[in-house]
């Protein structure tokens, strides 16, 4: 099977889990290549500032210096080239030809920009994505925070990507248990680890014909957006309360 990882130059996301996905695919004997989008420095800075505000500088510097997760600063593209993998670099996703040249059976999104419909038709088996909440209930952004805010379980969903946002058929879904002292950072770290494992499993099951995609109904879930700081504070308080319950039960 030939798998293509689609990723972008990291503005705020982390690299270790992406390497974990690539490494596990290689270990499983999958032929891996990389489609890597790297917009101009101005575009990156603009997009990062819009997404994260000035906090993006702090996170970027942490990323360059190894980061809180102990990651080295090199990008996924360098990691792939070090292993002799084929890498296609583009400024923006949109033109399907670079992806066609890699002739993928399956595409895995690992920290990619929104994928245009023209690219979704390229892989023979489909494009899969890791969503950091349980679909179909929680679509969109800050979904771990929204799950905690509403008192619902946190988890990871692997789904096929369609033209909608987080609306494609579900391949795998797994909950994450809260642990004493959890913060959203620690939850996200465990979500990334789980996402890496499930993405690889999803890709392999697709390749082996074992996957059983479950379609989502459009009205099953809700679209969530970036959480307002006032509600984020409430979500953090609720997470502390929920983890205190876990601690008490333990």
């Amino acid at each position: 099977m030939r798998a293509v990882l689609v990723s972008r130059y990291p503005r705020v996301d982390t690299i270790a889990w992406k390497r974990q996905v690539g490494g596990a695919l290689l270990d499983a004997g999958v032929d891996v290549s990389l489609l890597y989008s790297r917009a101009s420095l101005i575009d990156q800075a603009w997009a990062g500032l819009r997404e994260e505000g000035w906090g993006v500088l702090r996170r970027y510097l942490a990323l360059r210096s190894g980061g809180a997760d102990g990651e080295a600063g090199a990008s996924l593209a360098y990691w792939a080239e070090d292993r002799g993998l084929e890498v296609e670099r583009v400024h923006r996703l949109g033109d399907p030809r670079p992806l066609c040249r890699l002739s993928p059976d399956v595409v895995l999104l690992v920290g990619a920009d929104l994928v245009p419909a023209s690219l979704l038709a390229v892989p023979r088996l489909g494009t899969i994505n890791a969503h950091f909440a349980l679909l179909p209930a929680y679509r969109g952004m800050n979904v771990a925070e929204w799950s905690v805010y509403n008192g619902d379980p946190v988890g990871v969903t692997i789904h096929l990507v369609d033209a909608g946002i987080d609306t494609g058929p579900i391949l795998l879904r797994e909950r994450i248990a809260l642990e004493p002292g959890d913060t959203f950072e620690s939850l996200r770290r465990r979500q990334r680890e789980l996402a890496a494992r499930l993405l690889v499993r999803g890709a392999l099951e697709l390749g082996d014909g074992l996957a059983r995609p479950v379609p989502q109904a459009a009205d099953e879930g809700r679209q969530y957006y970036r959480m307002h700081p006032a509600l984020r504070r409430v979500a953090e308080a609720r997470l502390r309360a929920q983890t205190a319950d876990v601690d008490a039960r333990a």
Binding site: L49, R50, Q223, Y225, H228, P229, A230, L231
Partner: protein
């Protein structure tokens, strides 16, 4: 002459400042805490709009070109409700109840013989009564009655009769009593006033008329949530101001009656709009029928109003997504509130951002500050409830 020079200088400063903010807003401005004095400043400025008319109605607003504008019956009708509510929350502000009473009395004096309220501002020629202005003043009189300040029932009854008697079978009003002579979905806010009156007095004909009007409003909604007949004039794109009037009228009418189709209509349009808010960089003044932005500028009144609609939607449904959107929209409006010391505009909200935008350019309408104050009070209520 001195005033003209001051306004000229202020115009230059505000145009320059908004231009710089317009460029930088997408990256420099984040949602967050609102100045703790924002609500008090808005109310102070609303009081000033009353002072400058000699305690008659509330001035239509302050224009950088023309100075203070004459009293405006339509918006005085609902400005007084804001003062009453703020005064109720600040127990030592009996002066606000007194102002509201003075405004309500002034509205009685300008009420036409047919029971309706004139279009436009006072001071010019006599003008015809129109339904929207009549409905807004009916809200004000109902607020005064609800606050225990009696003496408005007879005027309210005449206004309600004006509205009920002139509504057609299809749920629209005759062109003669409509702004620009065309039907408008934003009259849902009028129907809300009619329902309030009907529930207070047992006026069954009034309630039936209001329901007929609201059902017509829902019939004008497309599958994607956009409303036909929402614009002020034929051929215009609906503004967020008109959309918010429509949504608030439907929502409050649902809250009174429990009619689910009106709530569904509010949610359908709101789903489309909160996506626009999230994608940013701002809610613009209007969207076309496919929800594509039809303006560069924001209508700050509409933004503040939509914030209020979504905060109320949260209160009605308990869905925190609406709370999130409401907080974001109120942030957007509140960060444009005028600070500084110039009393003519301190605490006011401009018609547009940037200030030269097409909605009330270079003006600070009284209804913009009114809806900002209303939404800030709702915001306080919602955040207190969430914290509890």
């Amino acid at each position: 002459m001195r005033n003209v020079l001051a306004r000229g200088a202020a115009s230059a400063i505000l145009v320059g400042r908004d231009g710089a903010r317009d460029l930088a807003a997408p990256v420099l401005e984040r949602h967050g805490d609102i100045s703790p004095g924002a609500l008090a400043a808005a109310v102070r400025w609303l009081c000033r709009t009353h002072d400058v008319t000699g305690w008659e109605g509330s001035s239509k607003g302050f224009s950088l070109l023309h100075g203070w504008l004459p009293a405006y019956p339509e918006t005085t009708g609902y400005v007084l409700g804001t003062l009453l509510e703020y005064g109720r929350r600040r127990k030592n502000r009996a002066d606000l109840a007194e102002r509201a009473r003075a405004m309500g009395d002034w509205e009685k004096r300008v009420q036409a013989r047919d029971g309706g309220i004139m279009e436009g501002t006072v001071g010019g020629r006599e003008r015809r009564s129109i339904v929207f202005n009549t409905g807004m003043v009916l809200h004000g009189w109902l607020d005064l009655e609800a606050a225990g300040t009696g003496g408005y029932a007879e005027a309210a009854a005449r206004a309600a009769a004006f509205l009920t008697d002139r509504l057609g079978r299809d749920g629209t009003w005759a062109p003669a009593v409509e702004f620009a002579g065309i039907p408008h979905t934003y009259n849902a806010r009028v129907a809300w006033a009619m329902l309030r009156w009907a529930r207070l007095t047992g006026d069954e004909a009034g309630e039936a008329a209001a329901r007929r009007q609201l059902n017509w409003v829902v019939s004008r909604q497309r599958a994607n949530g956009w409303f036909d007949d929402c614009a002020f004039r034929t051929g215009q794109t609906p503004s967020t101001h008109g959309l918010a009037y429509t949504l608030r009228g439907l929502l409050e009418s649902h809250a009174i009656t429990g009619e689910e189709s009106w709530l569904s209509a509010v949610e359908r349009t709101s789903e489309a709009l909160i996506r626009k808010l999230a994608v940013g960089p701002r809610l613009v003044a209007g969207y076309d029928a496919d929800w594509r932005p039809a303006a560069h500028h924001a209508c700050l009144t509409g933004t503040a109003q939509l914030g209020g609609v979504w905060l109320r939607l949260y209160q009605v449904t308990g869905d925190a997504r609406w709370l999130n959107a409401g907080l974001g929209a109120v942030d957007e409006a509140a960060r444009r509130q005028q600070r500084g010391r110039w009393p003519a505009i301190a605490g006011a909200l401009a018609g547009s951002f940037p200030i030269w935008g097409r909605y009330a350019p270079l003006q600070f309408p009284n209804w913009a500050a009114k809806f900002l104050a209303d939404s800030l009070m709702l915001r306080d209520d919602c955040l207190r409830a969430v914290a509890a």
